[in-house]
C-alpha cells in the first residue's frame, strides 16, 4: 500500500525513524521556546537544510505547504485585525508554524510507513507494564493496512448498489448492509487467523518477531 513516502538516496532517508521523530520533537520544542522571529528563522533554516539534504523536489514539497499557509494566514489575519496584534507578529507566527509543518512533512516524506509502524510498536512496548501488548498492536496495524483498500472497495460497492436501486438517500439502506458485511467478514477473518495457528494468548516477544518478519 502506497504511503506519502518519497524515495531518494539520502542521509535523511537512511536515518532511523526514531531519530527523525525525536529530532522533530526537539526542534519543535526549541522553536516554541526561542523568541519570535529567531524561532521562525531557526526552523526555516533547519527545514531548508533538511529539504536539500533529503534531495526531495523542493517545488513539490513547498506546494504541499500552500494549503496550511493559506489556512494560517486566514486564522492569524483575523486575529491581527481583531486583536490589533500588528502584521509583523502575525507574519512571524505564520512563519513559525509553516516551518514546523514543513519539518513534520519532511519526516513523513522521508520515512517508510513500515519503519514508522515498527517505531510505534517499540514505543508502545514501553507501555507493556500497564498492560499494552505491542505484538497485538503490530498485528492490528498490519491488518488495518491490508483491510483499507478492501473497505474502500466495500464502501464504493454498497454505494453503487444503492444508487442503482435509487435508494442512495436512504441512509439505513447504505450503512446497515455495509456494517453487516464488515461484522460477517470479522468472523471469517478470525477463523482464518486461528486456522493458521494464531493464538492471542501466546503473544510474548516471539510473536513480535514473527509479525515483523512477515510484514
Amino acid at each position: 500500500m502506497l504511503g506519502l513516502y518519497l524515495h531518494r538516496e539520502s542521509v535523511i532517508h537512511r536515518l532511523p525513524a526514531g531519530a527523525k521523530l525525536g529530532g522533530l520533537l526537539l526542534v519543535t520544542a526549541v522553536v516554541l521556546t526561542l523568541p519570535g522571529a529567531w524561532g521562525a528563522a531557526a526552523a526555516g533554516l533547519t527545514g531548508a537544510a533538511v529539504l536539500a539534504a533529503a534531495r526531495l523536489p523542493a517545488g513539490r514539497v513547498l506546494a504541499d505547504l500552500r494549503a496550511p499557509v493559506v489556512m494560517l494566514t486566514l486564522l492569524f489575519g483575523v486575529q491581527a485585525l481583531l486583536a490589533g496584534g500588528g502584521w509583523e507578529e502575525t507574519a512571524v507566527a505564520i512563519a513559525r508554524f509553516a516551518a514546523l509543518i514543513l519539518l513534520a512533512t519532511l519526516v513523513t516524506l522521508t520515512t517508510r510507513v513500515t519503519d514508522m509502524v515498527d517505531l510505534f510498536e517499540r514505543l508502545f512496548g514501553l507501555l507493556r507494564p500497564v498492560g499494552v501488548n505491542p505484538a497485538k498492536l503490530a498485528l492490528m496495524l498490519a491488518l488495518t493496512i491490508r483491510f483499507i483498500p478492501l473497505l474502500g472497495e466495500q464502501v464504493r460497492e454498497v454505494r453503487m448498489a444503492q444508487r442503482a436501486r435509487g435508494v442512495e438517500r436512504n441512509i439505513a439502506a447504505l450503512f446497515v448492509p455495509l456494517l453487516v458485511k464488515i461484522l460477517t467478514m470479522a468472523d471469517d477473518l478470525t477463523a482464518a487467523l486461528e486456522a493458521r495457528g494464531y493464538d492471542p494468548a501466546d503473544s510474548g516477544s516471539q510473536a513480535t518477531t514473527n509479525t515483523s518478519t512477515q510484514r
Binding site: P68, T144, L150, G152, E153, T190
Partner: protein, 181 residues
C-alpha cells in the same frame, strides 16, 4: 482481547480510512472539510463499545501519523496532525471511547433516539472539545472565533449522528453483535 476483537478493531480502523475516500464537502470559508469520517468514529463507538472502538480509532490515527494518506482528501502525515486542525483528528480515539462507554451504559438496545444522543455526546462534543482548544492553542485563534467557526459544522455532524444512530440500531436489530460481546 480475543482474536475476533483484534480483527474487529482493524476492520473498523480500515472503515474509517474507507470513509475518507468519499470526497469531502468543502465549506469554502473554513479550513476543516465536512467528511464522513467522524461518522466512522461514532459507528466504532456505538457498535464496538468503549475499548474496541477507542482502539480502532487509535489505530487509524497512528497510521495517519505513520504517513498513510487516509484523511479525507488524501491528507496524512505528522504535519497534518500538528497543523491547526489536528486536534479534531487527535480527539477521535477519545471520542470513540466515550461514545462506546456511553452506549454500553445508556444505549444497549436498538433505540435510535438513545443511540443518537450517545453519538452526539461522544462523536460531536468530545471531538469539538479536542479540536477547538487546539485551534486556539496551536493557531492562536481567539476561542470565541474557534467556537463560532466550528458551529458551521454542527448541522452536518448532527446528520452524521443521525445516520450513525439509524445504522447502529439496524445492526442491533439484526442481532449480529451485542455490544458486550
Amino acid at each position: 482481547m480475543s482474536t475476533r476483537d483484534l480483527v474487529l478493531c482493524a476492520l473498523f480502523a480500515a472503515l474509517l480510512g474507507g470513509l475518507g475516500m468519499a470526497p469531502p464537502i468543502p465549506l469554502g470559508f473554513l479550513p476543516v472539510p465536512v467528511t464522513a469520517q467522524t461518522l466512522g468514529v461514532m459507528l466504532a463507538g456505538t457498535i464496538l463499545g468503549a475499548k474496541r472502538g477507542g482502539i480502532a480509532a487509535l489505530l487509524f490515527v497512528l497510521l495517519v501519523a505513520a504517513g498513510l494518506p487516509l484523511l479525507a482528501g488524501g491528507r496524512g502525515g505528522i504535519g497534518v496532525l500538528l497543523g491547526p486542525t489536528g486536534g479534531f483528528v487527535l480527539s477521535w480515539p477519545v471520542a470513540a471511547f466515550v461514545t462506546g462507554w456511553l452506549a454500553e451504559r445508556f444505549a444497549t438496545n436498538a433505540n435510535p433516539i438513545r443511540l443518537f444522543a450517545v453519538s452526539v455526546l461522544g462523536g460531536i462534543l468530545v471531538v469539538y472539545a479536542g479540536g477547538i482548544p487546539w485551534l486556539w492553542l496551536v493557531a492562536g485563534l481567539p476561542i470565541e472565533k474557534a467556537v463560532f467557526g466550528s458551529l458551521a459544522f454542527v448541522p452536518g455532524d448532527l446528520i452524521k449522528a443521525g445516520i450513525a444512530a439509524v445504522a447502529a440500531a439496524g445492526v442491533r436489530r439484526a442481532g449480529i453483535l451485542p455490544i458486550h460481546a
